[in-house]
Symmetry: none
Subunit: 197 residues, 4 copies
């Protein structure tokens, strides 16, 4: 019915276990410090199984990254782009990112830094070709609609994504010890004041 990758119409359970475990370990220890034996042990699968499902370690990481990126774009499309005004889009973006962080911190962290240069060559997913474009687009649209002031697009982009990502970062680091969802409004307000006409 929906996306599947083997003839049973369901992602092999082993494949899922590998992905889930690798994702967690890559986030916890980093890509390089996570060995295939680590994944074998924690996922309870065999070495062969990993190589049966994925070309190699890099490809496994790339696939996990792709999954996260797809998820980001889906959420962005569904929750953010669907909003009518920039102001609403902005709020939706902050809300989406913050609640996603609270819901699936591992995946968000993966998106943010568990990706080695070998896997993707950009530092942050939201800066990936597609991710960057998506955010840039709504800024561009905001300017065109007259909602936000003109100016260097990158500065606006940096203000918007920087603020959000930085807060997620210090939340993950444990500096912030309450759910980010509590500061959606305040964060949105700051960014809005920075960008609005």
């Amino acid at each position: 019915m929906q996306g599947s990758s083997n003839r049973n119409g369901k992602q092999s359970e082993i494949r899922q276990r590998i992905i889930k475990t690798a994702q967690r370990l890559f986030v916890e220890q980093g890509y390089h410090r996570t060995s295939i034996p680590d994944i074998v042990r924690e996922a309870g699968v065999s070495t062969g199984a990993i190589y049966h499902h994925f070309t190699n370690k890099k490809e496994l990481a790339r696939e996990i990254h792709q999954l996260a990126l797809t998820e980001f774009l889906k959420r962005f499309k569904n929750h953010v782009e669907s909003q009518p005004t920039f102001k609403e889009k902005l709020r939706a973006f902050v809300e989406m990112m913050f609640s996603w962080t609270e819901t699936d911190p591992i995946m968000v962290q993966y998106l943010m830094y568990a990706r080695p240069k070998e896997v993707v060559n950009t530092q942050m997913a939201i800066c990936s070709e597609e991710g960057l474009d998506a955010v840039m687009c709504i800024i561009q649209a905001g300017i065109e609609s007259g909602e936000i002031k003109e100016g260097n697009l990158y500065v606006h982009y940096g203000t918007l994504t920087g603020t959000v990502l930085r807060l997620i970062e210090i939340r993950m680091d444990g500096v912030i010890d309450f759910p980010l969802t509590e500061i959606i409004d305040e964060t949105t307000a700051n960014i809005w004041l920075a960008l609005k006409k």
Copy 2:
């Protein structure tokens, strides 16, 4: 005149070469992908020399990180804290970070991400105990002096550091292809609007 570590009154030249090379390689390839043989080759020193000067690879990275952190704090103290008002401190901060990035991108990048969890357990130096405190302090002072609005300190902190660091990030990634010094004013303006009373 001041600090030195061998009888010649200068840090051993070999030691310097190791640090410079390791710093660059750690930034270019990451800590784990940089092998001791890599450093040996690029720095033109012997394996033994590295271990003569540093306990181990981790310690080498730690020392480089410490150097960068010290430099950050020095610059922060000299250029930022010395300013009278928050607004001026803010501009000084942006200016300091942006011009430092253009002057010594390697060191700034090192500060930003070339450090594995094993070396320092914070993701960003400006978030290191001391770095965080320093920035937090000027925000706190800004609130107390009535220059900036009250509100969750972390949100203000995230807005300020996030915007600056994110711009540095995309500059390093090559997304921005002009010197950050050109957008000091605009960046300062955005942050100021976000935080001011």
Copy 3:
């Protein structure tokens, strides 16, 4: 029939080859002068195979030692303890040790000195907790049965094991160039005279 460690019901042949080779090299060159590459070369196995079968070099040595000790205890039990009188036990001990030396000099030497302090902390297997106990026991029994004179147990122990081990030692060193089996009677006689009532 009994103990096995892979599905073929036989200890992996590679594992055996590693043990045999390491045992010989440890004896020939000593533990520390025997490198893993040495074992790899001589056993015709890969580095990885060694680490697949043994935790590390130390553990490999420990296992070999354990094997030798087990063998000693088995022989001691079968040939020596089963004898009715002390005099017969004594002769059986000398005979057992001397013929074992001629049959498997490598294993006997391993038992005698190829073990670094890190691996086992006793100097000689016959001095290992169990080995010592076993010999002490027959001496004790000999005294109790009135076959041998009373006196400091250690002196008796030293006389008995010292004489035997020393002869094995100089045989291995090449000082003695005929089979020890030729001097079983004479050796037994000396010890018997020293200890008998």
Copy 4:
């Protein structure tokens, strides 16, 4: 007047410190586990000093061994050979070895096992060309004088040295926890009974 190795008529103090420290470390940890840096640290001398006084590590060990062997022969000559009868020589040998062990256990241990095959190719000093000869000689003389029975010389040699060395061994191992000097008589008695006519 007597042996000296530098123009001041006294062994350089540094040289002595190196020898004493190396001897102790070789005994405590074995030759291979003792590194030059270890000796440098513990003796408080420089690396260069060691290489100034000794050709290399092996030579240092050899020299220490030579010292111990010379000491053995001196003691053997003075205390043992000077005795008139075999019985007295025997007692003197046991006494000499046991009290030497209690007085300078490090040197005796060095003689007994702290020598790697590279340094001397015999397992025990008393088995060294000269040491062996010396002991063999008194046995031979004992036979000729009719004090001890005829028979295989090696068996007699093994009985004599084996008993003594084995007791020293288990004393060093901590199995015997009283001074060996307390068992001089008993040990002598055992050996005497084994060998006498």
